[in-house]
């Protein structure tokens, strides 16, 4: 009798959520998938891209980039190929994110803060500057341009 009670107590101790069924094997599989994602670089800091490892041979260009609902100022941001670009990013209203895929830049910025990003403009062309933090109903249309000319 006493043995049965003891068994029940132990069972209840480890079964705090009796209705929650979590298959451990599948959960482990899920965790492995996340780990693969992290290993491949998606948990890391994306603020500065390949620029840090490249020798600079152009001018240093400092630009204050302001994000607002739903755009960027100045737009377009124009630099020359080879320039070292120092962006000082601020937000006018709500939190935003400045995301330039081709330069591996993805930084969040809050209102009242300023975030500095430095990169070497080593790829010529026109690139989208997009918002990576949801900022409202026009978020999907919020775009600016980075123009890297010769």
């Amino acid at each position: 009798m006493g043995g049965k009670i003891a068994y029940k107590e132990v069972k209840n101790r480890y079964n705090l959520l009796p209705h929650l069924r979590v298959d451990m094997r599948r959960t482990c599989f899920l965790i492995v998938l996340f780990a693969v994602g992290v290993t491949l670089g998606y948990g890391g800091d994306h603020t500065i891209g390949a620029a840090a490892q490249v020798e600079y041979d152009g001018n240093i260009k400092e630009i204050r980039l302001e994000a607002f609902q739903f755009g960027f100022s100045p737009d377009p941001v124009v630099v020359k190929k080879g320039d070292v670009v120092k962006l000082e990013i601020t937000s006018r209203d709500v939190p935003h994110g400045v995301y330039i895929k081709e330069y591996n830049i993805n930084v969040p910025v809050k209102k009242g803060e300023s975030v500095k990003v430095k990169f070497l403009a080593d790829k010529e062309g026109e690139f989208d500057i997009r918002c990576s933090v949801f900022c409202g109903s026009g978020h999907s249309r919020m775009r600016g341009r980075l123009v890297v000319s010769k």
Partner: protein, 249 residues
Amino acid sequence: MTVFLSDKRNIVILLLGTLFLIKIPQENSRFIFWVFGGVLLASFYDLFITAMLKKRWIVPKSAVISGFILSGVLDYYQPWFVLVIFSLLPILSKYVLVFKNKHIFNPANFSLAVATLFKIPLTWSIESNACLIIIVGLYIAYSLRKMPHLIGFFVFFIGLFLTQTTNPFSLVSWFFVFIMLIEPKTSGFGWRRGLAFGSVAGISSFLIFKFISGYDFLVCALLVANLFNPVLEKIKNPAEGKRYLPREQ
């Protein structure tokens, strides 16, 4: 046609397909392949898993919806393997994280929440026409008896953001509200549960926006509201099981 439209999932698929088509002229060809890829991958995973677990083939309508949402919201410039992994997560979450034989998390939202926690940008590209979303969304919410969820969400969302002198209507995502928040299986049924669920989502969205910026506050808020599901299950609705079935057409 009536039979086709009586399944609300068909209406949601039509809505998502239309939003996708409207957005195509503003985006590039990668967006088309990305969304198609997401839908096909999620459908394939779901077909495969149901065939393995239940030994039968079921048309994966929910997976199509998850695929549309996931690939339409996730940044489509990400490498393809991101799509391969993140379109698997909704399907896995549906079968793995289960409470009383129902999945806890909105599948697509779960995957998007993981993406935002890993700092993968969510660009919400598929949110192309707010008017269409609101009109069809209101119909879906009314048909599925999800109006309490909307009321609970908006009361707190609007109220709390107004205290910060932020215009709540410039911050809200209609796509999130009318397609993701009112997902039938993970948002609970009935007035009381609906109000509670919507309120939790509204309050969480404000708190995340205010204190943990840098993450997608709506996606994270829905994840938090989903986490409350086991607690919300304990709220009793009057005449449970009868009054809160989806409306008949």
